[in-house]
Assembly symmetry: C2
Homo-oligomer: 346 residues x 2
């Protein structure tokens, strides 16, 4: 399995996701600044993948400080790098979760030397990297249990191997379902403005030999009204403690349309995506992205000059639209306040 993000010999190998499906290119990320840019410019994207990237970013930042002899000065400087890395994308909680986890490790390390702390950070980054794939496989297996036999599954954006270290969250569920039942089919929303569904999801699924149909974001209701969609599963960028879920813009429309047609709408996300510090989706910051993502496609302007743009990268789907949250500890059901609390106490 090729990993979307992989620590190798003091640098990070990363698939450049801006070039898929045309070019498959691995880039080297050697500094914390390069990692910040890679996350911000979406060379790497997907909440779990940017979480692991953030963890490795802390390790790269620590390596930049390896000549620091005073451990307190080292920690001060590392803290600044951590805040800088976390600012690259505000909505996904996995990034903050992983960066904070690394910094906590550095702060509480019993190593007497900076080199010792750096070694621990690198090892922990690699541990999280490998754990991500294991978690996805567990989620996939739980999710596959609720996918109807022969189902056509609709998904939005890319919550696949590329959005994680490997295997995927929503597409992990698809992969596990397909492993048991080769008649499973997928419809993929193209996901404007950045078209991750068209560019990345079709790329992953066609490679795996899964029957995949690409549709535009406005078509889901039409196909549901024709009885052609049986199941919806998407990823998440941040889930509040009541189950409200921030995910790629367009997810909320899809959830409403699915509910109207009684098509079950599931979220697949690891527990690290759940932010138990916030009560509801209202507290999730929504990233406002570059206006050119809307005004231009493939470098060509597609609208008149003088038009205004608002480009929220995410929306929040209230918990009432969600049939279940598929996690590595099983499928959480409403009332989510309770099932989420229980999952964290396991």
């Amino acid at each position: 399995m090729i990993k979307s993000v992989e620590w190798q010999n003091n640098l990070v190998k990363m698939i450049d996701q801006t070039k898929i499906p045309h070019i498959f290119e691995i880039v080297d990320i050697k500094t914390s600044e390069q990692m910040y840019t890679a996350i911000k410019d979406m060379i790497v994207r997907g909440a779990p993948a940017i979480g692991i990237s953030g963890a490795h970013g802390v390790s790269l930042g620590a390596l930049e400080l390896q000549n620091e002899t005073d451990k307190n000065v080292f920690l001060d400087k590392l803290h600044k790098i951590c805040e800088y890395l976390k600012s690259s994308r505000p909505t996904a909680v996995n990034l903050a979760w992983a960066v904070d986890k690394q910094f906590e490790l550095a702060k509480t390390s019993t190593s007497q030397t900076v080199d010792g702390v750096i070694k621990e950070l690198i090892e922990n980054g690699i541990y999280l990297e490998n754990e991500d794939i294991e978690i996805n496989k567990k989620m996939g297996d739980y999710g596959a249990e609720v996918v109807p036999k022969g189902a056509t599954i609709l998904t939005h954006c890319n919550a696949g191997a590329l959005a994680t270290v490997g295997y995927g969250t929503a597409l992990g569920v698809v992969r596990s379902a397909f492993a048991k039942d080769k008649t499973i089919k997928v419809f993929a929303d193209e996901t404007r403005p950045r078209q991750q569904g068209a560019r990345l999801t079709t790329f992953e699924l066609v490679q795996d030999g899964i029957d995949t149909t690409l549709i535009t974001d406005g078509m889901s209701g039409y196909f549901m009204s024709q009885g052609m969609i049986d199941f919806v599963v998407v990823g998440a960028d941040r889930i509040a403690s009541n189950g409200d879920t921030a995910n790629k813009i367009g997810t909320y429309n899809l959830a409403i349309v699915a509910k109207e047609h009684n098509v079950p709408f599931y979220i697949a996300a690891p527990l690290s995506t759940i932010d138990i510090s916030i009560a509801s989706g209202k507290q999730i910051p929504i990233e406002e992205r570059d206006h050119q993502e809307v005004t231009h496609i493939n470098g060509e302007r597609v609208c008149a000059e003088g038009v205004h743009i608002i480009n929220p990268g995410f929306d929040v789907t209230p918990a009432k639209y969600i049939a279940g949250i598929i996690t590595e500890k099983g499928i959480l059901r409403a009332p989510f306040e309770e099932s989420i609390k229980e999952a964290f106490s396991k």
Copy 2:
């Protein structure tokens, strides 16, 4: 006012809508075959505009038969041209309505000569052309009465001056509302796959000095959840006698999302868009369009090879989602079977 379609000296002047917003070009349509291609390739689009184009297409076809001395042979050949023109796009009823109207005129004409019939067809085409603008202004005025003061109006696709001969149906409502209240604002869905919202609607509205924000099709729910949309109005390609409405793909999703947020969802369309011969939207044929509209944007492939495509050009919004149908005879309300019947008997 520049007309999107205009009869001039035995040919049709037409704005090439595939080139907007980059190039504003008028093309000459000189034969019925050129008219078929112009409609099929969407040089002209929008249900009312292709209706008038079809009417003029019949006149062009009749001119091609002007050396025919036998009126019966002339009518036989003209009938074939009419069927050919109607086959260029199956969903919009205005095309069939206008072409049939012209053929009926030719058949029932009391003119003794073919030249006399041709003259009547051309005159009737010009009459329909001018009538279209008058009808739109009436619709606009009726519609403006239900637009709240200071409203932000969301629209899908382009039901504007370009979709009609001039002024527009849904955008006619916007124009009439704006004439009374300069604080009216518009959000325009880009409308994938062909982006008529981005390319055409923003072009029209910015020219008119109306505050316009372009959004992608998946964003409507987000903005409604923020209380930023007060009113939705779209055009129609065919309305069944129970009020079910076929319009550009993505309209149905928008209608569901609007209903979920209690935002009133209106259709603006002339009575010629209502097909009283069909009982419900289930009988409306949905045009399947070229797959490249989905797989390619601006000539660049945006998805993996090997992916399947289904590209319905339209969807059907059931009447229960529709607050009212704005016509030239007033706003029709539920139960639509009755209000539509009444409008036709006026």
